[in-house]
Symmetry: C2
Subunit: 378 residues, 2 copies
C-alpha cells in the first residue's frame, strides 16, 4: 500500500521553495507519493493564476509532484477557514495520510487556538477594522499566541478543519524558508524567492534573477506562456460592475453592507484595476477581500455556487507513481473522479471551475475543460 | 412662432443622402427649424453606433440640422413598432408639426394597413419563420400592399403610432434616393451611398469613394475618430453569455423560447462575433433580432428597463435657430429637459442611455454623459 502526503498548493508559479518543501514533506513523512491539491485558475487571494491550471500542473509534475488534483474553485477562492476546510476534505477524500504545508511558525500550538474559539464571532463586525484582525486580537488575549502571518493563519485553518472532521489527516507544518510571502523583489543571492517576487520579476522581464529561483521547467513555461494578471480581466470586471444594476450586484456572494455601490462608483471612474482598487479600499476591507469579491463578480457567483458541499476529484495530471496510487484508491473514492469533461459534467459538477476556466480561456485562448485530458509525465 | 419638422435618424454616419433628405423635408414642409430625433450609442438593428452620439451630433449640426435630441435607448433599440412609437412620442413632445422620414414607397396607403391589423397576432408565432414575415403576408392578403422594405416598415410604424396617439404629427414620407439601405458597396458614381456601404468603405479604408458621398464634416470625423463595430464589444458579450447562468440570462428582455441556451453554447465556442452570429442564426430569428438581444445582454436590460413610458428630452446639440426654437417650447414641455447629467439624473431618468454610453466609453475612452454639455454650433 502506497502512503501519500497531500500538499496544498497554488504553484503560482512552481519555484525552488516549492521544490524544497516537496522534498521536506516526503522526507519528514516517509511518504511514497506526493499529491498536490492545487487551486485551478483563480486563487485564494482573489487573483487570477499567472499561468493556467494545465501549465502549472505540468510544471508541478516536472518539479517532482506525483499527482495533481484541482482544488475546486468554490473552495480555492475563499477566506482561509473555508479554503482550509475544502483542502482538508479533498486531501481526506484522496486518502492522504499526511497533509504538509509551509508556515511561518510551524511549532504553533494549533490545538490551544482551537480550544479558545470565540463564542460569538458575529460581535467582531466593526466598521473600521477587518474581521480577521479583531479575531486575531481575541485569540492573542485568550492564548498569548499571535496568529497574524498568512501561512500560519492557513495552518490554523487546516488544523481546525482537520479537528472538526475527526482528524482524518496527520498535519505536517514545515518551516517556510528563504523568503517572506510578501517579498516584492527577488533577493540578490540565494535560490529561493517568494512567488510574488517571482511574478514581479516576470513582469519586469528580469530573466537573470529568475534562473536562480525556479527550476528549468518553470523557466520554460515563463518563456513560452504569457503571464496573466488582474489587468487582463479588468475590462470584464469594469463592464460587469458598470452595466449590472446595484440590486443585481447585491446578489453576488459576499456582497454585503452596500459595498456594491462603492464598487460601481469606482468602476465608472477608474481607468485601471490599480486605480479601481485604490478607490474601493477602506480600513474595513482588505485588498484580498476586495479582490475575492471582484472574482465573484466575474464568476457571477451567488452563495449557492460558493457554498457547495458536493465534492469531486478533478484529475489534472500524474506520473507513473501517481497513477499507481490513483489505481490503489479509486475504488474507494466516495466522490466522483473527473478525468474528462462534457456538458453534463459542467452542468452537474464542475460548474464553477468551468466558469473560472472560461475567463482564463478568454484571455489566453486555451480551452481549460472541454477537450482537455490529464497531463501524463514519464 | 417657429414651426419644426422632426427627423427620425441614426446618422450612422451623416452622409449626403441625409443632407438631401433634410433639405427635402424643409422644402416640402416649409418648416423653420429641423429637429433630429437621433438614436444615441446603440441603434435599432442592435448595433453599436459607429461613432458616439457626440461625434454624430456634431456631424449632424455641421450638416445643417438645427437641434439634436437623443432618442432614448429604451426606444431606439426596439423592434420597429416600439421604435416608431418612441420616436413619434418624442417628436410630439418636442412640438414638431411634421415628422419626415425616408421610405422606399412613400405613397403607401398606411391608413389601409392600419385598418387591417390582425385581431390575434399571437397566432403568428411559428417555429420556422420570423414573426414579421408572417405579419407581412397577412397584411398583403388583407390589403394587397406589400410591406417588406425596412424603411416602409418603419414608416408604417410611425403612421400607426401617430394614429394611436391621436395624430399629433403630420407625416411626411420622402422618397429614398440613390441607394438601397442594404447596399454593401459605394456605387462608382453618384454622390449618395447607403450608411452601411459607407461603414464598409471606412472599414476598408477607402477614402477615395468616401469623399464623394459624405460632407466634409463627416469626412473629418471619419479621419479623426475610430469607427466602432460589434467586434469591439464581442469580448464583453462573450464574457456575459459564458459567465452568466442560463437562469439569469433568461431574465433578459426578449430572451424567450430558450434561446439563452443557444446563445451560451455559441458564445463558449465562437472566437469572433461573426462566428457567434452564424452559430446562433436560425430560420426563426433574424440577424437583427439576435443583435438586439445581444445588445440587451450587454446592457443587462430587463423588461422594466426597456418598456419605460416616462419620457424626457435629452439635448445633445443645437445651433442658434435650434436654440431659438428650444426657448420657444421649453416652457410647455410635459417631460424633463436634460442638459446636464449628475448621479440623480442617471439613477432616475437616463439609466439606460447611461449604460449604453458606458459601453461606448469603455471602447473609445470618451465620457458620454457625465461632464458632457450640449454641442453648440455658430
Amino acid at each position: 500500500m502506497l502512503q501519500a502526503v497531500g500538499i496544498i498548493s497554488e504553484y503560482n508559479p512552481f519555484h525552488n521553495g516549492h521544490s524544497y518543501m516537496l522534498n521536506q514533506a516526503k522526507e519528514v513523512t516517509g511518504a511514497d507519493v506526493s499529491v498536490a491539491l492545487m487551486s485551478g485558475n483563480w486563487l485564494q487571494r482573489g487573483e487570477p493564476a499567472a499561468y493556467d491550471k494545465w501549465q502549472r500542473t505540468k510544471a508541478a509534475l516536472l518539479g517532482g509532484v506525483d499527482l495533481v488534483i484541482e482544488l475546486p474553485l468554490f473552495s480555492a477562492v475563499q477566506p482561509s477557514h473555508l479554503f482550509a476546510k475544502g483542502a482538508v476534505d479533498l486531501a481526506a477524500q484522496m486518502k492522504c495520510r499526511w497533509l504538509a504545508f509551509g508556515a511561518e511558525h510551524p511549532q504553533m500550538d494549533y490545538q490551544q487556538l482551537i480550544d479558545h474559539q470565540p463564542e460569538n464571532p458575529e460581535s467582531f463586525k466593526k466598521f473600521d477594522r477587518p474581521y480577521a484582525s479583531i479575531f486575531q486580537d481575541y485569540l492573542y488575549d485568550q492564548t498569548g499566541i499571535r496568529l497574524n502571518q498568512p501561512n500560519d493563519i492557513l495552518g490554523f485553518g487546516y488544523a481546525k478543519a482537520n479537528f472538526d472532521a475527526g482528524k482524518p489527516l496527520q498535519l505536517v507544518p514545515l518551516q517556510r524558508v528563504g523568503s517572506q510571502h510578501d517579498d516584492v523583489q527577488i533577493d540578490h543571492q540565494g535560490a529561493i524567492a517568494s512567488a510574488s517576487a517571482i511574478r514581479q520579476a516576470i513582469h519586469d522581464d528580469d530573466s537573470g534573477d529568475l534562473e536562480r529561483v525556479v527550476p528549468e521547467s518553470t523557466l520554460a513555461m515563463i518563456h513560452h506562456d504569457r503571464m496573466m494578471t488582474w489587468d487582463d480581466f479588468w475590462p470584464f470586471l469594469r463592464f460587469e460592475l458598470v452595466e449590472n444594476p446595484v440590486e443585481k450586484l447585491h446578489q453576488i456572494y459576499q456582497m454585503t453592507e452596500g459595498i456594491e455601490y462603492r464598487l460601481k462608483r469606482a468602476a465608472i471612474k477608474a481607468e485601471s484595476f490599480a486605480e479601481f482598487l485604490h478607490l474601493v479600499k477602506t480600513k474595513r476591507y482588505t485588498y484580498t477581500r476586495i479582490q475575492r469579491l471582484c472574482t465573484y463578480v466575474l464568476l457571477h457567483a451567488v452563495s449557492n455556487d460558493m457554498l457547495q458541499t458536493d465534492g469531486y476529484v478533478r484529475l489534472l495530471g500524474f506520473n507513473s507513481k501517481g497513477q499507481h496510487y490513483l489505481n490503489q484508491i479509486k475504488g474507494d473514492l466516495a466522490v466522483p473522479l473527473i478525468t474528462k469533461v462534457n456538458d453534463d459534467v459542467v452542468a452537474d459538477t464542475i460548474q464553477m471551475d468551468f466558469r473560472g476556466g472560461m475567463l482564463t480561456q478568454m484571455i489566453n485562448g486555451q480551452s481549460q475543460d472541454f477537450y482537455r485530458h490529464p497531463i501524463i509525465i514519464e
